[in-house]
Symmetry: C2
Subunit: 338 residues, 2 copies
């Protein structure tokens, strides 16, 4: 067994000071305890949610300090001490920012043969991002053909898929993103009807122009001022699907909350959701996404950073307005991973 | 026909400066236009929502300045220019703060014989407050027996009924109100399990003690800091029924919005609602409330102020923390009204 390297979680970051919170070290190869498997990581996912895991308990305990940082990984089982899992199998679950992860089998899934698709689609198109986008649009947003759909964080992994799914379902789709390049990508390659650059445009005023009858479904990924600008433009009985609040994740001060007044006047509803609570919907989501992707109706962009040592700089992009990444951000841990 | 007096809406108030916004004058008796009825007001309802009507369009246009202030009234038809309405009938709808109101028949309802109950129950127990409380608890909150229910503005007309309905449905009920006297009324006469005085207690900490498993349904009447304190204590998949945001109605500054982070972590949902959108539920609500009231399971308190000239001072109580009013605040316009 070869050497292991890991990003160690030193302490919860203050605001966006990730440089002191995460340190890259040589680190012993972890041992799989009973009920665990040892995984050689092929891909490491970088997600805004990781920031929340640092700050306190979520749907998982807070990440312990002095040990490798947690993240979603796809990798190969090297050693198994868990029934039903065997060396050589490819799995996905919550591992660590390292070459090797010891992973408990709770939430660990075997990755099926991808039928010619690159392995990273299991991380960036299906499962997490695709499942979240699908559930958010279909189950939470309950989007119907002819409605107006707005998504923030639209150039991100979830947002870019959510907007395309909404388009397939027959909605008029507006994406909100942080640069002209991202906006051009949304309306160009991805086929969004409109895009708003929140760094340069007045989101509230632009939405009033673009959605004169109001927004029927808002897929909320960011919160903060952008969230309030959309809330001010909701249609009667509009629905807000709250998936993330990235604008607040680095803010230790009192957060900018959502002003409920415009929602109250319009009888709107809001539903916060986490994919973990809707795992029974993953098979349908995966089947639909695979079908749409094969038909060319869903475009998927993997923003792949090479090498574990690059993880921290890439992660910081998630919280930098106007950063250049788009689509699913991930690290290729094994240079040979396809 | 006798003289008429009216509170004239001079201009939208700045914050809580109602003294300059509303002036009491002799005023011509209004004329019923075609499709309208002239009503002699018996009772005038004072509601936090009236404040919103002053500030801008809501589910109604903004109240015009230089004319009588709008409010819910119960009164007797003196003259009818509307088909289906006849002089002598008792009706309820949106009238004006005056002795006489010219009222269009949109939203105007005939008040049935109250079967021995005082007429003001048509304003304070059934229709608006009771309907709102019932729909909020049953339809929006979807409260189930054994759940934990929290209501803010608990000593108000809607809150006091909502808590009692929740209790009848088998919930553990916590009310949040603005004085020790109100809290004693909630846990004493009204049978709430617990009450929190938000003026003197730490609402978030008290809820943590009183609801260790979290709040399943929150009936939101106030917003602001109290709303956030409850949001921080929601249970997994908890539901928030947003009925009002009185803490924000006088605030011209950026309002304190609701922090969605704790709701996101718990997969909570929120539904804003206005009774106008659920009028088809009023018959069931009225029947249930009448049954429960007759059985002594619902206590109803009418806080009746005598005389139209007292309307302004009474209205100001709605926004004064620790004010002494409890239950349904209204003005007896006709001294002979029962």
């Amino acid at each position: 067994m070869t050497a292991n390297r890991a990003w160690i979680f030193e302490h919860p970051p203050v605001r966006d000071d990730f440089d002191s919170a995460l340190k890259f070290h040589d680190w012993p190869v972890p041992k799989a305890a009973d009920g665990q498997v040892l995984v050689r990581n092929l891909y490491l996912s970088l997600d805004p949610a990781n920031r929340r895991w640092m700050a306190g308990p979520t749907y998982m305990p807070q990440i312990p300090t002095g040990a490798p940082m947690w993240g979603f990984v796809v990798g190969e089982i090297i050693e198994s001490k868990a029934a039903g899992f065997a060396p050589g199998e490819i799995v996905g679950g919550v591992g660590t920012w390292s070459d090797y992860s010891a992973v408990s089998t709770q939430g660990l899934d075997k990755i099926p043969d991808m039928g010619g698709l690159p392995l990273h689609t299991a991380m960036g198109l299906f499962r997490g991002p695709g499942g979240t986008a699908y559930v958010g649009v279909v189950d939470i947003g309950q989007l119907k053909a002819g409605q107006t759909f707005v998504v923030s964080g639209a150039a991100g992994s979830v947002g870019s898929l959510a907007g395309q799914i909404a388009k397939i379902l027959g909605a008029t789709v507006v994406g909100i993103a942080g640069s002209a390049e991202k906006c051009a990508w949304l309306t160009g390659e991805l086929g969004f009807d409109h895009a708003i650059d929140y760094q340069r445009e007045d989101v509230e005023a632009r939405l009033r122009e673009l959605c004169p009858k109001g927004v029927d479904v808002y897929f909320e990924n960011v919160g903060g001022a952008v969230g309030n600008a959309v809330a001010a433009n909701m249609a009667k009985f509009g629905r807000v699907a709250v998936c993330g609040l990235t604008a607040q994740y680095n803010d230790e001060r009192a957060p900018i909350g959502l002003d409920l007044m415009p929602l109250l006047l319009n009888g709107c509803s809001m539903q916060c959701f986490i994919l973990y609570d809707y795992l029974d919907r993953l098979p349908e989501a995966t089947a639909k996404l695979a079908e749409w992707y094969a038909e060319g109706r869903i475009k998927y962009h993997a923003d792949i950073v090479e090498g574990l040592e690059s993880a921290l700089e890439a992660f910081k992009q998630l919280f930098r307005p106007g950063a250049s990444h788009r689509g699913k951000l991930m690290v290729r841990v094994d240079p040979a991973a396809n």
